[in-house]
């Protein structure tokens, strides 16, 4: 998308996106050998696989996703975490980063705490389980939490995390991006605000070409900005 220059057309649900010989990817469905868009989005074709990149929509958990969640309830051996999806997501004590005694969950995480964790499993009826066994999983304290549309997360991260590392480098903020659209930022007030502004820019112009450059420009200009030169 970046650098392609031209804008790809928007397709709406029910619009034909391909004929026979093409495979239906995410956001499409096939009927009578032809492919149609199932979602409002941008058509994309790679090696005969047609998909529709959605422009809007809810986060649906997938196994292995890194997500940022908020604790909403405690049980004797688990926490219930809001991961911004339609499904409640429990984090079992054995999957947490600590050795938790039965009934002692509140010593480690309380309601309202924010954690970085991963989706351990999602079954066919969409029962979700979380885990904190990955290295980067942890409780997040301090910093700010912002939310973007989950469909814009790949833009915020960029190819091989290029976008997010650009922002990290330029603002010297610590940033965690959850696949569920939650982003945690930490740094001094000024650079946090700058990073937040950059992320808003990405969200607004998710489909733009040359987005990386626009972000770099914004941050560099702002970093100099208020000071008289």
């Amino acid at each position: 998308m970046q650098g392609s220059g031209s804008l790809r057309p928007i397709v709406i649900p029910g619009e034909a996106v391909g004929g026979p010989g093409l495979k239906p990817g995410p956001g499409t469905y096939s009927e009578g050998g032809r492919l149609f868009a199932a979602q409002l989005g941008i058509r994309d074709e790679h090696d005969g696989l047609v998909s529709v990149i959605p422009l809007n929509g809810r986060y649906l958990p997938r196994r292995g996703d890194a997500v940022i969640g908020e604790i909403v309830d405690l049980g004797p051996s688990h926490w219930l975490v809001d991961i911004n999806s339609p499904y409640p997501a429990p984090l079992h004590a054995t999957e947490s980063a600590w050795r938790v005694e039965f009934g002692d969950t509140s010593r480690y995480l309380k309601v309202g705490d924010v954690i970085m964790c991963h989706v351990l499993s999602v079954d066919e009826i969409k029962r979700v389980q979380l885990t904190m066994s990955e290295r980067e999983a942890r409780k997040l304290s301090g910093g700010i939490l912002m939310e973007v549309s989950p469909t814009k997360v790949p833009r915020v991260i960029g190819k091989q995390a290029s976008m997010v590392s650009l922002i990290k480098d330029l603002t010297r903020c610590q940033i965690y991006v959850g696949q569920n659209g939650r982003i945690w930022l930490d740094g001094d007030d000024r650079s946090t605000a700058l990073a937040a502004m950059a992320i808003r820019l990405i969200e607004d112009r998710a489909q733009a070409s040359g987005l990386t450059e626009a972000v770099r420009e914004l941050i560099e200009k702002e970093a100099r900005g208020p000071r008289p030169s």
Binding site: I12, A38, L40, N56, E147, A193, S209, L218
Partner: protein
């Protein structure tokens, strides 16, 4: 006392050249305007003006279905609430659901159940809210058409949009898209909703009497009109998203206000859903 019965019979709804009260021919629609994405807090929304009708539709979801016992482990629920504002009609409408609006909510949610890919979101619900701000006959068609745009705007996966239009009979002539007077003093009204690509019918009701030939004719008119309405829905969605795309083309980043780290963040919703 005034003879109301006589009054109604003397009223000419369609003149000798086939012109109706508002000057339309039998197969003409009232002017329609659709706008997508008008509400910020809803996942998807649309506003529609159809002749004298003004309708707002909002969509939330898929989200956790409440109460829990309603959840279906195999698919999402498609729930709809059709509501008329007290000021939408000439005599104040008593607020709240009544027999009519409960029925309309039901048939509309069933119409959408057949296009939404509900099996992709087990145990959730997709909630559709239709608010009629001003009514002038054909509000369920307007509501359904607007809600369909709102669903697409919310990014809900579905087979196709749904377009809807009513046909009826006035003074013995089968006509498209009746307005208030034609609905009140006409002979029949037949709202229809179709999936434009396949021609599948997802809502069909009738008030009054039509012969089988008249019914066929009414259906043809409605289905043809639904195709035209579909084009308007599609244009509304394209317009909504091309606005942001045009902004993108202007390469210059937005002019940010001087830095106010604490001051500007709350208004931008950076703190998540608690602020809503």
């Amino acid at each position: 006392m005034e003879d109301i019965e006589h009054f109604a019979k003397a009223m000419k709804l369609i003149d000798a050249d086939g012109r109706r009260l508002d000057g339309r021919k039998f197969n003409e629609l009232r002017p329609i305007r659709i706008e997508a994405g008008v509400l910020r807090r809803a996942d998807g929304s649309a506003y529609m003006e159809w002749g004298g009708n003004k309708v707002l539709a909002a969509v939330y979801g898929p989200r956790e279905a409440h109460p829990r016992h309603l959840q279906d482990p195999a698919r999402a629920l498609v729930q709809c609430r059709y509501n008329m504002a007290p000021f939408s009609v000439t005599d104040r409408k008593r607020p709240g659901p009544d027999r009519r609006s409960v029925e309309i909510s039901k048939v509309i949610s069933e119409a959408f159940s057949s296009v939404v890919f509900a099996e992709q979101f087990p145990r959730t619900s997709v909630d559709i809210f239709i608010e009629v701000l001003q009514a002038d006959a054909g509000t369920r068609c307007a509501g359904l058409t607007a809600a369909s745009v709102a669903l697409a705007d919310a990014g809900v996966p579905m087979r196709d949009l749904v377009a809807s239009c009513a046909s009826g009979k006035i003074d013995g002539v089968v006509c498209l898209d009746l307005n208030k007077d034609e609905d009140n003093f006409g002979d029949a009204d037949c709202p229809t909703a179709v999936v434009p690509r396949t021609g599948e019918i997802v809502l069909l009701q009738m008030d009054g009497h039509l012969t089988s030939d008249e019914f066929e004719k009414a259906m043809d008119l409605s289905i043809d009109a639904a195709r035209r309405i579909y084009d308007l829905q599609r244009d509304a969605l394209r317009r909504r998203y091309s606005v942001t795309l045009e902004d993108i083309l202007k390469e210059s980043p937005p002019v940010p206000s001087p830095m106010q780290p604490e001051g500007r963040l709350p208004s931008e919703d950076d703190f998540g859903p608690e602020g809503i």
